[in-house]
């Protein structure tokens, strides 16, 4: 009878059914007589089944297949979008990142009833800002590097409506990505972030929601009203180092989120061209909040 230690290196491979034919016969002859090695083969197989179980325990995210098919359809027949030439600066280079969350208009939301307002804390915004913009560069729509105009068109095709993508290129910001990560349940958003080639060590987010947001622990923003928009009333709140600047437009809200000074956020908020976008709001989002 062959020695167990001769068998050792082959048992795992045998357990996987991958042992070359000419090596299989002696292993099988040994296994017929050796309980210890048979057990070992079984255990290697059990280990693989454990791995298989664990890997298979992840459910497909809801809607992923549909989103994928939609994107494949979008791809076919459309010319490749034009990319702005720029190098995405690494965080090590301490680039400025601006994150904008665009108004999310659900396809089913055709009614004219405004959605109920929700409470959101500065920390809720800050969490998404950190996760998606600072750490993740989250971009489920492959918007990175596109012009605001191109991104608007791409998102319109993928989402079925034309969201606001503020053109902040005059302020030195280019698009870094778009996603739909929401700060709290029941609040739907679309999330687009911009990167700046600027080397200051800052990161910024701009959020828009599908309804009014009540910013928890907020105070009215009184600084530099001439640089903001006189027709808007801004509110601010803080979560650690992160500032959140929020304002309402008709029945929906927008917020900027960053480690910038509040005055800088105000400047970006004032720069975004909302007028044209607001004319395209769906019925439920139009009109004064009640």
């Amino acid at each position: 009878m062959t020695n167990c230690s001769d068998m050792q290196p082959r048992l795992a491979v045998y357990a996987d059914g991958e042992l070359a034919a000419k090596l299989r016969a002696p292993v099988e002859a040994h296994l017929a007589d050796c309980q210890k090695c048979r057990t070992e083969v079984e255990r290697w197989q059990a280990l693989r089944r454990c791995a298989q179980r664990a890997i298979a325990s992840e459910a497909l995210p809801p809607g992923l297949e549909q989103r994928l098919r939609q994107r494949l359809h979008t791809q076919s027949g459309t010319a490749r979008r034009r990319l702005i030439k720029f190098v995405v600066p690494g965080l090590a280079a301490a680039a400025v990142i601006v994150v904008a969350v665009l108004l999310y208009l659900p396809g089913s939301g055709g009614g004219s009833v405004a959605l109920a307002a929700v409470d959101v804390s500065a920390e809720d915004f800050a969490r998404i800002y950190r996760k998606c913009a600072v750490d993740g560069h989250h971009d489920s729509h492959n918007c990175r590097g596109m012009s605001a105009q191109d991104a608007r068109e791409l998102l319109a095709r993928e989402l079925g409506f034309k969201p606001l993508v503020a053109d902040l290129s005059a302020h030195g910001y280019v698009l870094g990505g778009a996603c739909k990560c929401f700060p709290v349940r029941d609040l739907r958003v679309i999330h687009v972030h911009y990167l700046s080639q600027d080397t200051q060590a800052q990161v910024v987010s701009l959020f828009s929601a599908d309804r009014r947001v009540r910013l928890k622990a907020a105070s009215p923003f009184n600084g530099a009203p001439d640089r903001g928009r006189p027709d808007r009333s801004y509110e601010v709140a803080q979560a650690g180092q992160v500032n959140v600047l929020k304002w309402d437009e008709q029945r929906v809200s927008f917020a900027l989120c960053s480690q910038m000074e509040q005055e800088q956020l105000l400047e970006l908020a004032g720069a975004a061209d909302f007028a044209r976008f607001l004319r395209q709001l769906p019925a439920y989002a139009r009109g004064p909040d009640r």
């Binding site: 050792q8 048992l11 795992a12 491979v13 996987d16 991958e18 210890k36 090695c37 057990t39 070992e40 255990r43 290697w44 059990a46 280990l47 693989r48 454990c50 791995a51 298989q52 179980r53 664990a54 890997i55 298979a56 325990s57 992840e58 497909l60 995210p61 992923l64 297949e65 989103r67 994928l68 098919r69 994107r71 494949l72 791809q75 690494g90 965080l91 090590a92 280079a93 996760k131 998606c132 750490d135 993740g136 989250h138 971009d139 489920s140 492959n142 996603c179 990560c181």
Partner: protein, 187 residues
């Protein structure tokens, strides 16, 4: 006639979405990132589909190959932009299991706990070992296919798999001992 002339990319590739996602999920930190990776993989595959020779490779390993390359690109990008490391070293996996864990009565097999132990162990492997172990763990591809996917010789697959499997066994040592999952040679 190559099969691709008869079936569209979507018909051929989307049925493997679950497999591709599951591998991606364990390569990434979270669901968002995994979905991004999967979408990027499929878009790349879609664009390259006309150049794809199914008879030589098969769509499943081909998708996994693109997934792997895309993952490596992202990894390289991240390494240029350093962040808090969240993948522990292989060495840390080799720490001896805690002493004094005398078990009098084996507890009932808690599959959810086992799954999360296994996932945690997989997540702690270095990427090159993790990828091999994941592909092996799906039970959907052969050693040769793993070699093709990763673009390495089959011997490399086998040695990486050997190490990854042992690391997994060690990480699960306590758990595995209770449930007789450990090969005799490892005890």
């Amino acid at each position: 006639m190559p099969a691709k002339a008869e079936k569209s990319f979507e018909e051929l590739a989307v049925p493997h979405l679950e497999l591709v996602y599951r591998v991606a999920r364990r390569l990434c930190r979270d669901e968002h990132e995994a979905e991004d990776l999967v979408q990027e993989t499929y878009l790349k595959a879609y664009k390259a589909f006309s150049r794809f020779e199914m008879r030589e490779f098969g769509i499943k390993p081909w998708l996994l190959k693109i997934l792997h390359n895309t993952f490596l690109n992202r990894l390289a990008r991240e390494r240029r932009a350093p962040r808090v490391a969240d993948h522990k070293n292989m060495e840390q996996m080799h720490e001896a299991p805690g002493a004094g864990s005398e078990i009098s009565e084996p507890p009932a097999l808690d599959y959810e706990k086992l799954d999360s132990e296994v996932k945690r162990a997989i997540d702690q492997l270095q990427p090159e070992f993790r990828t091999v172990l994941l592909l092996w763990g799906t039970m959907e591809v052969s050693y040769q296919e793993i070699a093709d996917i990763l673009g390495v010789p089959i011997g490399t697959v086998m040695s990486r798999l050997h190490r990854a499997r042992q690391a997994l066994t060690r990480a699960l040592h306590d758990y595995a001992r209770e449930h007789r999952l450990i090969p005799a040679s490892e005890q």
